[in-house]
Symmetry: C2
Subunit: 428 residues, 2 copies
């Protein structure tokens, strides 16, 4: 009865192939649910002739994704190429300008150009949807932007990079060093071509910036995310954390404070018994806290062919069913520019450092902390060697500013061997 919804898919990597498979295998189910057929008109990728496990011979081929995005027989441009700029952005802009809807899995593009693209989509009265850009198969964009729309969202947190969580949990379970597990993960193909995107926290920070905009009605501000990778985490940190009932996670936290929007992506200690603490391997988890709903936890596969393609198809079904929403939950021109409140919320911190084995060294550190107004919850010297004394400190709640002041002052004492490892203990 209704006309088919015709897709043009750019990018035939893991996710693109997953989308093609679902459209072929679930044709009847999709037609029942959407009230119309979902078809593929044309595809585009870097290489045409390649065994992908699906036959793409029935679809028109375009070398140029911009040409694909603007074809007359395409209603929805499905952007699965990746990269914040270049062809992905050019084709997305061209598609929206040509009156096509867009579904994308591109977190980098949205984190950096989200405001521009949202404005363009809304000016052309077209949908721009991106469930697959954040936390793979977990329907967090839909839950946050629609299901929880009646809530004043107070905090969004998440473990949103499966590779980092794999590394951290594997270090703990196998007792391996960061370097050993990093090499293992790289060999298994778990890391991006540029692994720094993963272990440096950048990929997860892209996702957090997108969630912030949707949660708080603010313009996407990726540059406002404080980012720290997991490279500083040593196996002894994981062990100390475990001894105290914590686990270390690369945790993203966004919250609106009296001083502005706080966005952090950094390794943190979280209670081992909490849902976040119990998260193993490559699984993702997003926690949303709202004025009325309280705390909602969503957990699922954060990457991979099936889960990510499932998220893409959720968006495609929404478009097929006629859903039209502002890209970030409210019109792009009404999104606020929030002041950046960098690590405004106080928290206890975990500190590990090695001191030169000189009389009075520990006293100097304690003094420096006291002078910065930081009180000590636990302090322990352990595993003493000939010339270095490793020290573990857990502070009471303090601000990151006070902590940074103390860390600078420690440096000047001359008793610290290397820069201390400082990890926030997040209340989850």
């Amino acid at each position: 009865m209704s006309t088919p919804l015709r897709l043009g898919i750019a990018g035939l990597g893991t996710v693109g192939v997953g989308v093609v498979k679902i459209i072929r295998q679930q044709a009847t189910l999709l037609q029942n649910r959407c009230g119309r057929e979902i078809t593929i008109s044309a595809v585009s990728a870097r290489t045409r002739d390649k065994d992908r496990g699906v036959n793409i011979g029935a679809y028109a081929w375009e070398d140029d994704p911009v040409a694909l995005a603007t074809r007359d027989d395409v209603d929805v441009f499905v952007e699965l190429m990746g990269g914040s700029d270049g062809p992905a952005k050019a084709a997305t802009e061209a598609a929206l300008a040509a009156g096509k809807h867009v579904v994308t899995a591109n977190k980098a593009m949205l984190a950096i150009h989200g405001q521009l693209l949202a404005g363009l989509a809304e000016a052309n009265d077209r949908a721009l949807r991106y469930e697959a850009a954040v936390a793979g198969g977990i329907p967090i964009i839909k839950s946050l932007g629609e299901g929880l729309a009646g809530n004043d969202i107070t905090r969004v947190m998440g473990v949103m990079n499966g590779s980092c969580n794999y590394i951290l949990t594997r270090m703990e379970s196998a007792g391996l060093t960061y370097e050993e597990v990093f090499d293992e993960a790289n060999a298994l193909g778990y890391l991006e071509a540029d692994p720094e995107l993963d272990v440096g926290g950048i990929d997860a920070a892209h996702k957090l910036a997108i969630l912030s905009a949707l949660a708080f009605g603010t313009r996407v501000d990726f540059d406002g995310v404080e980012i720290e990778g997991i490279g500083c985490v040593k196996i002894e940190d994981i062990r100390h954390a475990a001894d105290m009932g914590y686990r270390i996670k690369l945790l993203g936290v966004a919250q609106m404070t009296g001083r502005g929007l706080e966005q952090r992506m950094a390794p943190c200690l979280v209670p081992a018994a909490s849902p976040l603490g119990q998260l193993e391997g490559g699984t993702n988890m997003v926690v949303v806290e709202g004025s009325d709903v309280g705390q909602i936890v969503l957990r699922g596969a954060g990457a991979g062919e099936g889960p990510t393609a499932s998220a893409v198809m959720g968006d495609v079904c929404d478009i097929a069913r006629g859903l039209r929403l502002p890209v970030f939950g409210q019109p792009a021109d009404t999104l606020a520019t929030a002041p950046r409140a960098q690590s405004a919320t106080p928290a206890p911190y975990y500190l590990r450092m090695a001191l030169h084995d000189k009389p009075g060294a520990l006293a100097k550190i304690a003094t420096v902390l006291g002078e910065a107004g930081i009180s000590i919850h636990r302090m322990r010297q352990y595993d003493h060697t000939d010339d270095q004394a490793p020290v573990l400190i857990v502070t009471h709640k303090t601000t990151r500013a006070a902590l940074n002041q103390a860390l600078d002052a420690m440096d000047s004492t001359g008793v610290v061997v290397d820069a201390p490892v400082a990890l926030r203990i997040e209340s989850v």
Copy 2:
């Protein structure tokens, strides 16, 4: 710019009051997100004059919910009265017939009259939405029906009655009997006026029947749910389960099998380390398994003013934003009538029984199991008293039919004191 969306709210209990509060307190946020104002035209409840903590003087009053539902100044009828029939059903039907949208939290009404009401809503081209009917604040209806629409759903499971989960976890943590915790929960107001709705598994089964329809594209079949309450669970079952690494949960499971749709709501053993096993107190959890997404877990408050009102408001926002979907994910007249496959999926079972202390009693039980084709994984006699020998058996995978045959045969042996407790061990 756009016209306001005008609500008529019937039922001003906990949830109704929560909805009124959100609409008053979050007016600006709702307007930003929905692109229009959300207003309340009129309300209805059993008693007009009652201190509810919110002032309802600004809204028109109707004694009769049917009159409320059909008022000219009402666009959306919000049904929060409860009860499968009577005024709730009459007013819902009247609202849909009069061209109003309906948002309801009424699981009993949808479980029993879902097919009728969905047909009526679709015939009148109006939305009938019910996020609040299942698992409180957790956006499971939206996730299952929209976010995961690209998946062939294979199984839906959940702990969806917070009162039962409270009772079971409190028995374990406080070492109290079922009867003691039941009385405690009742005194705290945690149980329905008819507690059998909670502890008998009926309330949770209503929810499961709704999820099944949405997940599998089948007509709501509440009568097809095999229901077993938690009254059979003794503190020693909880302890034996814990010893073996399990916890007992009132778990709903719906899955499509080769023989038809299997829907079960019964106390089950689940691994203590699984997300379901770790669920404490009144929290709810729903687990969805799909062809592509794998396993998605959603967790949150299953009841209470804020969480349930949050779910109602999610539906109201959807309607304000123009979302129109078939009630159970596809047109009501295309929903299939699935054959009932009662406990078709084999599983291991936990059995506890007391035997008369006679020579050969244990052998008789073992023989009976063997004759039913059930092999024994563990068998243990413990805490022997003068005249009774308590026995604990864990079987290998078997069907419920074979187990029932064995239980009948055990009865005929004359060595069993009471009917054995038989709990399924669910793989989650």
